[in-house]
């Protein structure tokens, strides 16, 4: 439960700043995507720099997470096709809505209820993705089994 409450608290902090910085305003996102305003790019860049330095400082000092005692560590991933394919799709949806998963939640909190439609869509989208994933995994399994028996 402590971890969940930590998540809630940090979420509140980030949500507050997202709102304050205009990230939940589709007009701001549109200006960014039209390359009219560097505000969001600069914001994200500075976030990445601060988070990068902070994470490395924690790890270098063998810092143990306050709630779990777990040593601060992480793994990184090699790029795969799904990162490109999935992100292209994501980018398409993003250009249509001028909002994305984090900001849409913030937007709803600010009272912009139309965000609920985009949010509902995201829930549907992740659900469909899981179904597609299961179907394509099952298909691969069947293929593998068929190839196995073909070798006999």
């Amino acid at each position: 439960m402590t971890i969940k409450l930590i998540g809630l608290a940090i979420g509140v902090g980030i949500g507050f700043v997202f709102a304050w910085a205009g990230l939940s305003d589709p007009a701001v996102i549109r200006d960014m995507l039209l390359l009219r305003d560097p505000h969001v790019f600069l914001l994200m860049g500075s976030t990445v720099v601060v988070a990068a330095v902070g994470a490395r400082l924690l790890r270098a000092n063998n810092f143990r997470a306050l709630a779990t005692g777990e040593a601060v560590a992480w793994s990184i991933e090699k790029p795969q096709t799904r990162h490109v394919f999935g992100s292209a799709l994501f980018g398409a949806g993003w250009s249509l809505a001028a909002t994305c998963p984090g900001p849409v939640a913030v937007m709803i909190g600010q009272g912009r209820l139309s965000g609920l439609f985009a949010a509902a869509g995201i829930v549907i989208g992740v659900t469909l993705q899981a179904m597609w994933q299961r179907a394509s995994t099952a298909q691969k399994q069947v293929r593998a089994e068929l190839q196995g028996t073909a070798g006999l």
């Binding site: 509140v12 990445v48 902070g54 994501f90 998963p101 849409v104 439609f117 985009a118 869509g121 995201i122």
Partner: protein, 155 residues
């Protein structure tokens, strides 16, 4: 009584610090997509919602607190005419938002993260997958936003 928009050099580092705080407190990465995945898988049983849902709900609450504090809270179904695809009918705009959401949800889950997960957290960890994902969704989004604006005769 609304606040002026936070400058990037204040908001950006603040978010960065909060991401570090999450690391320090729970060794968890910040991301928004996970909450939606959790909601999708929880079968709508609130007691089964985990950390990622709490993080997402926090974002919502943070938005609400900001809106109240800055006197900008306002319940409305309006969505700004952002010019990508200008739709006259509110019903059409609603359907568009829904479809956009579905595409984002499907795409982000395939990619394993969204703007926050890959663009902020993943990038800060120098994850090659996040670099590729971020470059891809930014390029796609910018290109399509321009295309839609040109098609719509607006900019």
């Amino acid at each position: 009584m609304t606040w002026t928009i936070a400058p990037w050099f204040i908001a950006g580092p603040l978010i960065g610090l909060l991401i570090v705080a999450l690391r320090a407190a729970a060794n968890k990465p910040f991301g928004a997509l996970g909450g939606f995945v959790d909601i999708s898988e929880s079968g709508w049983s609130l007691s089964r919602l985990g950390f990622r849902s709490y993080l997402l709900f926090g974002l919502l609450l943070g938005g609400a607190i900001f809106a109240v504090a800055s006197g900008s809270f306002s319940l409305s179904f309006a969505y700004p005419d952002y010019g990508s695809i200008a739709l006259a009918s509110p019903v059409a705009q609603t359907v568009l938002l829904l479809i956009a959401g579905v595409v984002m949800g499907f795409g982000a889950r395939t990619a394993g993260g969204c703007t926050s997960g890959h663009g902020m957290s993943g990038m800060s960890l120098f994850s090659p997958a996040s670099l590729v994902a971020t470059a891809t969704f930014f390029t796609t989004a910018v290109a399509l936003t321009y295309a839609f604006a040109l098609l719509g005769g607006q900019s």
